[in-house]
Every structure is written in C-alpha cells, then in structure tokens.
Symmetry: C3
Subunit: 394 residues, 3 copies
C-alpha cells in the first residue's frame, strides 16, 4: 500500500492520470499570480474623492487615488529611495502625489515625475517615473491591470455576466486579507466536494437547505470554457452528476442534514465556476435570485485579498434598493460569518503543506478534483506571464 | 593566544583530541533526531478514550487517538490536500478519523484510507493511506516509533530499568515545549559539570544538599555502554572522579554552598546517564529512593518536547500511592520550578550559537565534556538513520 | 519614459553619472559596517562601577564591564558553548566575569581564560580566550574598536572637534535601537535635501525658524575631506549653494513655512557633515551655540544604535552646568520628539526597499544626492575591512 510518507517525496499522479504536474508547470510557478490580467483591488466606496490608498497586489505595492471621481493607480514606492508614498500621503495638487521624504512628485495619471519639491530644476523631471497601472471601476469595484501589455478588455478577465447592465452589484461587500496563497483559495472555491465542510453551517441550518455531502462530475464534458475572445474558466461539468447524500463508515451512516424530499425546505442546487485570473461565481447563492461573486487577488506569496459580493438581476431602481437593503440587513454578515468563514479556515489550513512541505508534489488528488486539474491546465495555457519579483543582493 | 573570534570560523579541537567533529558527523546532521527509534510522546493520562491529539515529533505531524484503551498513531496530515486532521477532529466511527475538509477517512490502526465521505465509490479507497506509527504505552507514557524499519524492542530505546515491574512511575509528570534543538538539551542533561548552574537552586538550599561545583571523570573507563541487544548510552564514568568543591579566582574563593562534613545535611551523589535516542536518568534524585527520568524528543529543528517524570521501587500498591502523593504534593513542582528551570535556561541560551553562529564548528569543549563527545560518537555509530524532511520547491 | 518598474531590475545610474555602484562596491558589502574602526557603544553614565552590560555591535556580541572606573570589553559569548555571559552576569572577582553555565572565567582586560570554576586544573586555562576589544571613554561616551588591527587613534574616527578640551558634551543623550540598516541612517543624516521632512516639525514651529525646502550643492567642491592622518568625511559643499524656498506643482505653490525676511524670527543655517565610520555633526543645532552629534552604530544587518548628543564651547564649569541644565530641561526631549523622530521614520521606511527589493541596484538618485555618492566612495576607499560573520552549517 503506498503511503503519503513525509520521507518519500514522490510526485503523486492526480486523479485524472497523465504526467501530473508537468501539465501545469506555469501554474506551479505562479505563487504571485499571472501578469497581464485585471484584478479587483477594493470596493470603490472605500476611496473618497481626493483620498489615497496603498495596497499590495501580486507582490507589487500600488497606490490608488481618486481624482474627479476617477481612480488612478501608480507604484506605491518612490523611484528615489523606495519609501512608500501612501505611508504619509502628501498631495499638493489634484493630479499628483508627492513623496513625503524629498518631494518627488508623480502624476497619478501616468506615473511621470512631474516635479521635485526639493529640486525644482532637476533634469530628472519629465524623464523618469514610477510604474502606472490601468484602472477601471465597474459595478462598485476598482480593478487594476497588472502587467506590461496593453490592457486587455476587462470583460475578458471577469466572470461572465458580471458587467450585465441589469445586474445590480452590492457595493458594500466583504474584503479581508487571508493568510494563504491565492491558488489554494481559488481551488477551494471551485472544489466540487468541499461543500462537506459546510454541512453544519449556520446558513444551511437556518434555511433547512438540502446540501449533499458532495456533488461532482466524473467526465470533463462541459467543464472547460475556452473560447477565443471570451473569459476562460471551469465549471462543475455537464456530464452525469454524482451527488453523495450518504456514506457508511464502519457501519455508521454519515448523512447530509437535510435532503430533498426529506426535512429540507429548500433545495440547494448551485452552479459554481472559476474564471481567470481569480474570480468565482456561485449561482444562485445565497438566495434563489442572487449570485455570489468572489475574488482571490494575490497579495504576496502567502496571502491574498478575499473580496466577496453579490449580484441580482433587477428591473428598476426600487428593486436595486431592496436588494441592497436585504444584503445590508441580513445576508452579507450571515454568509460571511456562517459560511465563507469555513472556506477561509480550509484555505489557511492548506498553506503549511503547500508552502513548506512540498505539497504541490505530494498532494494526492481524487476523482472530484478533476475540475481543479482542468483549472490548473487552463490557467497554465492562458497565463499571459508569470509574476516574479526582483530578488535582493545575496 | 588563540581567540574564539567570530571572524575566524576555525573548527575547534575538542577536549578529547582527535579529528573533532568528523567523528560525529551523523550527529551533526541529526537536527531532527534519529529515525527508527522509539520516542516518548506524552503522558497517557492526557488522552482520554476516543479523544484525538495532534503533536509534532521529529518534524513529522502525528495524530494520536485512544481506541478501546489502546493508543494508535497516524500521520496528522491528510494525503489529499495536506490539512491537519487534528485541527478539527471528526470521528464518525470508533476506529477512524475523517478529514474535516473532504472526508478522507483513515483507519487509526494502519493509516489506510477506508472511506471517503464525499466519494464513497472512489477507487482510491483501500489503495492508499497515510503513514502509521507503532505505539506503545508503558508506565503511563505513550511512545511512538518513528522510522521505516520494523519497530525494535521498546526496551532497547529506554533508560535501563525503566520498565522494571517493581518500578512505579509517576503518571503526572511535566511536559513542556522548549525552544532549543534537542541535542543541546541532551548534552546539558548528561553534562558532568553543568551542575554549577544549580548551586544556588531552591532545591539545593531547601535540602542543604551538598553539591560540588562539578564532578567528572577524565578517562573513558566505564563511560560508554555499548552492548549488543541492550540500550546504548553514556554515563559519568567509573575511573577516578574529580570533584570540585572550591576554586580561586584572583584570590577570591568560589565554594559550593554546602559541603559534606560542613553545613550539608544531605549528601548529593547521583549517577546521571544518557541513552539513545534521547532519554536521561538521574539516580537518585530528588530523594534518596527516587530516580528522575527525562526525555528531549525532537519537535522541529529549534524546539523539543521536554518530558520529565520520576520512578521509585515499590513493594505494594500502598507504597505506589504514597509515592504519587509525595510527588503531587511537593516534589513535582519543587523540582520543575527550582531546578529543571535552570537547565531550560541553559539549553535555550545555547540555541543561537548553534543554530545561527556555526556553534558546532566553533565550540571549544573542555575535559569534563568527554562524556558529551563520547555521546556524540555513540549516537553517530548507532543512529539507525538521520531524520530529514522533504524540502518545498525553490 | 523609463520607469522604476519592479519587474525590470536594472541598475540605476546615480545623479553624478559614472559606473554607478561599481564605484562603491565595498560600501554595498558593508551591511554590518566596516572593521578596524572605533564605534560609540553607549553613554558612560549608563554603566556603574562593577556593572556589566551586553550589547550587539556590527553583529558581534560584546560585554562591557567597568573596573576601577575604566571600561573593558570582551566577546559576550563563552568560548565553550556560546552562551551570552551578560545574560546572567557573574563576577566572582573584580577583573573577571565567569560564565554562569560552567564557570569559564575571563579577564576583562584581555579576554584571556584565567580560571574555570568547574575544572580549576584545566589545561585550557591561560591558553585560550575570547576576543577582547579596545575601549576608550571620552566625553561621556564609551567607544569600542572592532577589528583585528592595532587600534588607530580614536580622534581619526570621530567628528572633528568632538574631543576639543573646551567642548562640553551633554552626558545624558539619547540612545535607541532603530530598525534599519546603519547605512540608510547615515545617508539620511547627511542628505542635503531631506530637511523637507522637517518642514512642519514642532521644533521649527516653536522657533519660527527659517528652513528651506532643501539646500544643496551641485559640485563636489569642498565636499570631501580626505587628508592623511585626519578624519575622513563629507560635508555639504563649498561651491554655489542651491536653496529651495518654493516650488510650484500644477500651479499650486509649495513654500517653506518661515522664510528669512518673512515670518522667520530665526535663521536656520547649519552645516552638516558625516564622518567615518558613522558619525554626524550638525552645527549649530538646535541652538546657535550648540552642535548636535549623532552616530549610527551597526547592530545587526537590519538595526542600528542611534546615539545622539550635543556639545557646546564653554569657558567654565558654570557654563557647563548651564548647558547641561538647558539640555535636560528642554532641548533633549524637544529635539528627539519633534525633529529626530522624523528621521527615524524615514530610515525605517527605506529598509524594506534596500533589504528585500534590491534597492541598492534600483534606487534612482538625484542631484542633491551627490554628497551621498561621495560618501559611498569615500567610505569604500577608506573602509579598512568589511565586517562579515561566519555562516552556520547549511
């Protein structure tokens, strides 16, 4: 019997066979994410006119400022001596930020060095600058494009439908920093069988929702969405679904709490899909007319931004108001505190194995993980570049 | 005059001459301990029927569960995605533990994957598993065998006499995690001259015990116990003993507090011995009819489990009761708080030098350390394998 | 337009042109400072007769003891097992310290092992020792010479004038441990344009002092002081000074708070100079008849001792008394809390860039930094040796 012995170090063959991790080497290299993609940064409501906000994304330090309503982003590290501009934000004029240390002044619109307070005649002015980032604010979320290429269309890097005009997006979603690599979060999100950790969730109990122990597909049919000029993603599949409602262990039955046709008052059938670079869509959830959107924006190699919000198709401003009021009053906290928190525990619990114990080579995937291996291959294929940071002098 | 200059980096010749650390290279490599030995894990009284306990030993994460009175141990890391089973222990049946994340279910008796809650028909069931560990519970202590070989006899890896039928062992000993490598603890334990740090101990004062400043042997005679089919260890020696009661420094006399024939009301003559893999015996201590047993089970490269208890020869259940009551009432805390704590300070004080400053090559051993160098050679000779952990991808 | 992109990693050409950091490679290697120099350790008033004090300097652990008024220093790490002598200082006689662990006893005057409490007949006695350090106590400060050479004259490693007989030095200066490499502190100190961070300082406001936004020299004239047999240093220059009182950013004027001929009641014209190995002199400051002296003694690669005091020319003991009373009553805390604290923030803010993000190769210096690049070249030229520590076994 093979054992997952810590002393061996062999590479495991994943459930779907093949040459294992050779198939997704770019993914394994992407501890900091993929370049040349749009990533959500934060909810726009958290940045008022004229304010600055510093945030680390994909290992880069980024400064955001809202000017005449529009958000701009540049490197949050002065070209001169590397201090963080956002540590003591100093804006002498509308379109600029000046470094608090020597007054190197950058135009937020392009990163260009437009003045130096302490050397107004400096020949450097106009010739250098810091990195600038394309920014789009849509549906209440601020997105930044991190890479070298001309920004692609935002819609290509988002869950399909997110930008639909009649989809109202809740503007006060949750944003937390979670201590795990972003890939562990993404894989947990789309993982077809991890719903097992939710079987006693407050949310499931409150709604007497039927929730199987697991529900997955054994074939790749309909699992990979890979069309030119459209978002790339994976979803649970379209073949024959296997739903597990009951297992027996040493004669003891393990059952899901509420079953259709049994105690359940609600059936809980959702479709979950994961999209490049790091966005999840769960539909419907937590209500029949509502979808949950999540993102796992890489922060550094060992943490990610966990950004969660919800969307609902609406026909009027009144319906939008109702939607926001419902989320404010009940559902935001209900979901975050009684459901998503379990996912957070799982992501953080994987971190040691993958970061310190060679987990990528030692994991032992099983049949339901086919959606995860398809995701790894898809992400590797469309990666657009691996994010790397310069290393210091040895 | 040679100096122990931090800028030099030369290897020191130990007190007993020879080619120094080349003689004990396996020992230098064993930061995580030696494989294929029995190590004490914890006091059995701390694990009730049906309960689980996770603990790191020799860098491996191990899960213990008591089933029908007997303790079993398997790897505390799910084969699937590497999370710790003991983080949220979930036992659906008596002989198993299920991973809280996807329900991979292991038989505690052999580590075998016997069910997967979320995929009951998985072809993996019965074909893989996690590492399992042989366990023995003797004299109130739970021992685990960590390695690949068929477990050796427990008695070979214990201080001689510990398993004697008429030796009562105190079941509520002390178990702490100490922040030093296990070898620094073992060497401090057998170190013949370190009693100097105890000369003002509360225990010594309370008993007006005679305690020399140091007491050691200059020859290897009787120092090494290395017989086939028996525990391997070192003890202080059988040659001519040198006891130091007084030294002079610049005309100032440094004396031991209580001397035989002087103020001392008790003579304190003990024999101390150190046994593979990491057990100490001090006899008698702290009472004339009592022996102290200690172990320094490696935890990770920079910490160890410090497990301490006591034994006494008894002739009846009443004598055992008396022994336990005495230890409970006075001696356990007296020794731990007024004597062993000084050893803990010394072990932790060495850690920086050995972990960060090349101490193994820069130390300057002296004559009384002959027992330490004999220990290093003995441990190297009988090491049965060096514990190594897999390294993550660079 | 070139950008300081985190993804590039190119070496920047400094303001003064040339082959950039190749010119100051020894300086780049000196994360722990330069050997064979005198460094200030602490204020003598903080070490009473017979007392011991352990302190890390240039990555070496050093023990100081005052004996008959004179301060001696030896390695604060026992040659035997590497524990820190100062952790539990144990002095059985006037000129010695004994290790608390086994009683290895060192003469503070030369580091020699003069006794071993636990083995009085040891053949090691008199044959080995720990490193000893030359110490001088002048003007209330204790200095240690760290290196292998015969100590040079202290005056060569000090700010000129510091030892002048008629210069009273305040004995109760400030001594803090700051979390940045020492070089970032030194460069901040002499940086001609960093006064920008002080423009709103409490000290400037309290005195309505005129303080330009920056003040620097564009030529090397008079900038480098490099004469045989004298301290080596840099000062702001003697050419045409550029003083910046006002800048315009997008039509918005940025002005210094108080200008000569305007609101200022005091003119603030100081000369700042930086001297090998790590001493700054600011004159006059904070009063017209007072000079500020600072040192940035390396502690480890990521922290330094920040030692600050003041000096004033006096003609009598009464004048000295007055000076000390003034500093005690007002100026010490005023300067430390309302001015120096801003420098501390800047030094710590640079640490991440230089320690983790390849800052030494990625910085983008500008014209006023010519004094910094001259400093780097001067320090490289006269470095007397790069401090390195032995690395542990891999």
């Amino acid at each position: 019997m093979p054992e997952a012995s810590p002393a061996e170090g062999d590479a495991r063959v994943p459930a779907d066979g093949g040459s294992a991790h050779k198939l997704w080497q770019p993914y394994l290299d992407a501890a900091l994410g993929f370049r040349n993609h749009w990533y959500p940064a934060f909810f726009g409501s958290r940045l008022a006119e004229g304010e600055c906000r510093g945030q680390e994304m994909l290992g880069e330090r980024i400064l955001f400022k809202r000017i005449d309503g529009k958000v701009y982003a540049i490197e949050d590290r002065c070209a001169h001596r590397g201090v963080q501009l956002s540590q003591r934000p100093e804006c002498h004029s509308k379109n600029t930020i000046s470094c608090w240390y020597h007054g190197f002044t950058y135009d937020l619109r392009n990163g260009r060095l437009v003045a130096i307070v302490t050397d107004p005649e400096s020949p450097l002015i106009g010739t250098i600058g810091v990195k600038s980032y394309a920014v789009e604010e849509r549906k209440g979320l601020v997105f930044a494009f991190i890479g070298d290429e001309t920004p692609h269309a935002l819609a290509l890097d988002l869950q399909p439908g997110f930008l639909d005009e009649d989809l109202a997006i809740y503007p006060n979603g949750d944003h937390e920093i979670i201590k795990s690599n972003w890939r562990l979060a993404a894989e947990n999100g789309v993982d077809a069988s991890h719903i097992y950790i939710h079987r006693n969730s407050g949310l499931v109990n409150a709604g007497r929702k039927s929730l199987p122990l697991a529900s997955f597909f054994l074939t790749r049919e309909g699992m990979v969405i890979d069309h030119d000029g459209a978002p790339k993603g994976v979803m649970k599949g379209a073949g024959r679904k296997t739903s597990v409602w009951e297992t027996e262990i040493e004669g003891v039955k393990v059952k899901s709490q509420y079953r259709p046709g049994g105690d359940a008052t609600h059936s809980h059938i959702t479709n979950t899909s994961l999209w490049l670079p790091c966005g999840l869509k769960v539909e419907p959830f937590p209500l029949d007319d509502t979808a949950q959107f999540e993102w796992y924006t890489p922060r550094d190699a060992h943490s990610h931004h966990y950004i969660v919000t919800w969307g609902r198709k609406v026909k009027s401003a009144a319906e939008t108001d109702l939607f926001v009021r419902e989320m404010d009053a009940v559902w935001k906290n209900m979901v975050v505190d009684n459901f998503n928190n379990e996912d957070v525990i799982a992501r953080e619990a994987m971190e040691r194995f993958y970061a310190e114990e060679d987990g990528w080579n030692r994991e032992y995937l099983y049949r339901p993980d086919i959606v995860i291996t398809e995701w790894r291959k898809l992400a590797s294929k469309h990666n657009r570049g691996i994010q790397k940071l310069p290393r210091p002098r040895a």
